[in-house]
């Protein structure tokens, strides 16, 4: 592998002022996961002083990466995909302030790389796990960027009963008899996808929600039990899971060992959240992750304490810049991105794209954005859809 082109500082220099603390956050994701777009939108917001709790103390010494990322958005287009041999390292001299944070100077290191690099690393294990990757493992927090697919099934109503294996065999037998006893795999199983022939619809008079209101689950339920005719969900993000394993290994963590709270936080940001079906947005990013990426969710549950995990939906620009109509609106008001997450009161929305970074730096208390400075950025929480 040829030497990468480095744009920006090395990322781990000594803090410029004696009082500034240094923190690095690694942004990880596969190809087209939205890493560059989010970084660009964040940097633009930082320059325009739109962040509730982060300010630039002064300009960075090396602004090449910042300029490269933000120029595209200023033109009203998505940033170019980071090339395979290109690294964007940012060292930002910032000030963190405002409740619930204590005022402090901060040198924040962020990095962007080509998503293809992850695929190369997953396939070819010799010569690709470089010290630069191991340095990324030492970050205070990891932001895992995942792109939501444009289309997907809507969340199903909560299931009150479950099919036994015997019932599933019966379904399979009926499907084979329907097809004359021959295996014909070109056609969908009878009943179509998602329709179950044996499951009884829940009696509405037994529906507790009607009597007691919507439930507030303490722990997200697992994915819906698939009906016999449902397609098998092929696991995605295996390369990202492997990278997470490598990074934990580099930190000296055994498989399944949960690091002490605060040592290594993980933020899962589902990008292009504005394109997600509204039912899923109302169900929340945790529910979305549980249904679409159960393997990743299980890995995170097994490997980190709940306090160190934050799941959010993220829209960096609030729409599609390839759409001329939206582009026009965007150029008139470029700060349209938002972050959504599940709070106790329901789904919360915030326009501060630095929210994942706040969590990475300060943990759960960063989600208490009740300060006057952040109020204009927060919409009222809306009830969570019980998907």
């Amino acid at each position: 592998m040829s030497q990468p082109t480095l744009l920006g500082s090395s990322g781990y220099d000594v803090p410029s002022e004696a009082t500034a603390t240094s923190a690095s956050i690694s942004v990880l994701g596969e190809r087209d996961s939205g890493k560059s777009t989010w970084l660009a939108a964040f940097l633009q917001g930082l320059e325009d002083q739109k962040m509730a709790h982060l300010r630039q103390r002064r300009s960075s010494q090396d602004q090449r990466a910042l300029i490269k990322l933000t120029d595209a958005l200023l033109d009203g287009r998505f940033p170019d995909r980071t090339q395979l041999n290109e690294l964007l390292e940012l060292q930002l001299p910032l000030q963190l302030s405002g409740f619930p944070f204590s005022d402090q100077d901060l040198d924040l290191h962020l990095g962007d790389y080509a998503g293809e690099e992850l695929a190369v690393l997953f396939k070819d294990r010799t010569g690709t796990w470089t010290p630069r990757w191991r340095q990324r493992a030492r970050a205070k927090a990891l932001v895992l960027m995942l792109r939501a697919p444009e289309k997907g099934p809507s969340p199903l109503p909560y299931q009150w009963d479950s099919l036994s294996d015997r019932q599933r065999w019966q379904h399979l037998l009926r499907s084979r008899r329907h097809l004359g006893g021959r295996v014909i795999n070109g056609d969908p199983a009878p009943g179509g996808i998602g329709v179950d022939l044996d499951r009884h619809a829940p009696d509405p008079f037994d529906d507790p929600a009607r009597q007691f209101g919507e439930p507030v689950p303490l722990q997200p339920a697992g994915p819906h039990e698939a009906s016999p005719g449902d397609r098998v969900l092929v696991p995605r993000a295996l390369a990202l899971i492997e990278l997470l394993q490598f990074m934990r290994h580099a930190r000296g963590l055994l498989p399944g060992e949960r690091p002490s709270c605060g040592l290594m936080r993980v933020i899962v940001a589902i990008s292009a959240w504005d394109t997600v079906d509204m039912h899923w947005r109302e169900a929340g990013p945790t529910r979305w992750l549980s249904q679409h990426l159960p393997l990743l969710e299980d890995t995170l549950w097994s490997s980190f304490h709940e306090e160190d995990l934050f799941y959010c939906g993220l829209s960096s620009v609030g729409g599609n810049l390839d759409d001329p109509g939206f582009r026009q609106k965007y150029q008139a008001d470029p700060h349209r991105g938002f972050v959504e997450w599940e709070g106790l009161g329901g789904i919360q929305t915030c326009r501060d794209l630095a929210l994942p970074l706040y969590f990475g730096l300060q943990g759960r208390r960063a989600l208490d954005l009740g300060s006057p400075a952040s109020r204009p950025l927060i919409a009222s929480p809306r009830p969570r859809h019980p998907a």
Partner: protein, 395 residues
């Protein structure tokens, strides 16, 4: 300077990759329970050209990460050094030589998956991983936590995705018989119960069926050596191809031969268990049941072989069932279940019956009996509070 009588090359020092082995110092081999002759049989033992030679240092797969040398932050990029840029593990199947470090981490469970060629062993494991990965656990009390063989799993899944649904084509690639050593698939599990904080390493052998056939025919040193991990396994999954049951009617020679051959495999396994004080459990899986569903109807629920529900199968495979009964008489816990790992293409329907047998298997190999309860008798009429108060509080 040349010499007519050149000295033979110096004997190089004997060195083992394992830190707990001092065989090279003339003492005992750390794997002596597996080898009769470590000098000939142990793959970890080598004569290194030079102790300090970087090339002689083995890739430290699976070693405790805390013992690894730390790369200092801010160090220069050492892309030119192949060892510095090598990933901690390959992501492919875990080979026999790489097994020990994983098994040394308690708790680890090694499951030997046995069956003849094309029985459906690899497809079964792929379906299990797919169910686990897609959250279709159906009561399986563990969640995925890690895997050292993610790339291997992905390769199997990609092949299964490309399967057209035709019975003539293979769903997953056949495990090549040209392997030099046994290979295994790994998955790390975490109990769902919040009070159980363990990480359980689960390893499944993924062997070519030809190795089993060779071992059944001739249990010589070579055929036995490549199955040496049997000595360490915690349970067996014995896979039968259910479609063989209806290829011909009962009593015909093909079915008789199939029945006789399956019995021979079982007898080999029983012979392995005979000298052991604690016998390992045996899960018998009739795979590809979807192919015989219209002839044999819905299979019984997982049960022990003597259950009357399995009687129709016992009548078709009398020798096999007799061997199972002999195994049970020896004290081997057995369970029989039917599975359809890939009854459809992946985009057309779900597997059937995959998770329940694995649930049973984990109950056997990961049995954790509850601690004995402290029973205190409360005399009639006495106050429970007074009776159970601590001795320190007694007047």
């Amino acid at each position: 300077m040349s010499s007519l009588h050149e000295l033979p090359p110096a004997i190089q020092p004997l060195q083992c990759e394992r830190k707990d082995c001092n065989f090279g110092l003339g003492q005992s081999c750390a794997r002596q329970s597996e080898f009769l002759d470590p000098l000939r049989q142990c793959s970890s033992l080598r004569r290194h050209p030079g102790i300090n030679s970087a090339l002689a240092l083995p890739l430290d797969l699976g070693a405790e990460p805390r013992t690894r040398s730390r790369i200092p932050s801010g160090s220069s990029d050492t892309d030119g050094d192949p060892l510095a840029s090598r990933a901690p593990w390959s992501g492919r199947h875990v080979l026999d030589a790489e097994l020990e470090p994983i098994l040394a981490h308690a708790p680890a469970r090694l499951i030997a998956v046995v069956g003849s060629f094309n029985a459906g062993k690899t497809a079964l494991l792929t379906a299990f991983f797919l169910q686990l990965a897609s959250g279709q656990k159906r009561g399986f009390p563990y969640r995925f936590a890690s895997s050292r063989t993610l790339y291997a799993w992905q390769t199997l899944i990609e092949h299964a995705q490309r399967w057209s649904g035709s019975g003539e084509l293979e769903i997953v690639t056949h495990t090549p018989r040209t392997l030099e050593q046994a290979q295994h698939l790994h998955v790390g599990l975490r109990p769902v119960s919040g009070g159980d904080d363990r990480h359980l390493d689960l390893l499944f052998s993924d062997l070519p069926g030809e190795w089993i056939s060779s071992w059944v025919s001739l249990a010589d040193e070579q055929n036995t050596l490549r199955l040496k991990f049997f000595a360490r396994c915690d349970a067996y999954i014995y896979v039968l191809d259910a479609s063989e049951l209806v290829g011909s009617g009962p009593g015909e020679s093909t079915l008789r031969k199939f029945d006789a051959y399956q019995r021979r495999i079982l007898q080999r396994l029983v012979d392995l268990e005979r000298p052991r004080a604690v016998r390992r459990p045996l899960l018998v899986l009739l795979c590809k049941w979807d192919a015989v569903l219209h002839r044999l109807d819905i299979p019984p629920d997982p049960a022990s072989p003597e259950a009357s529900a399995w009687q129709p199968i016992a009548e078709r495979l009398p020798r096999t069932w007799q061997a199972l009964q002999e195994a049970q008489a020896l004290g081997i816990t057995c369970r029989v279940a039917a599975v359809a790992a890939f009854p459809h293409r992946l985009d057309q329907g779900q597997p059937v019956g995959v998770m329940a047998p694995f649930h049973w298997l984990l109950e056997q190999v990961d049995a954790r009996p509850a601690p004995a309860r402290l029973r205190t008798t409360i005399p009639p009429g006495a106050s429970p509070f007074e009776t159970l108060r601590r001795w320190e509080d007694l007047p």
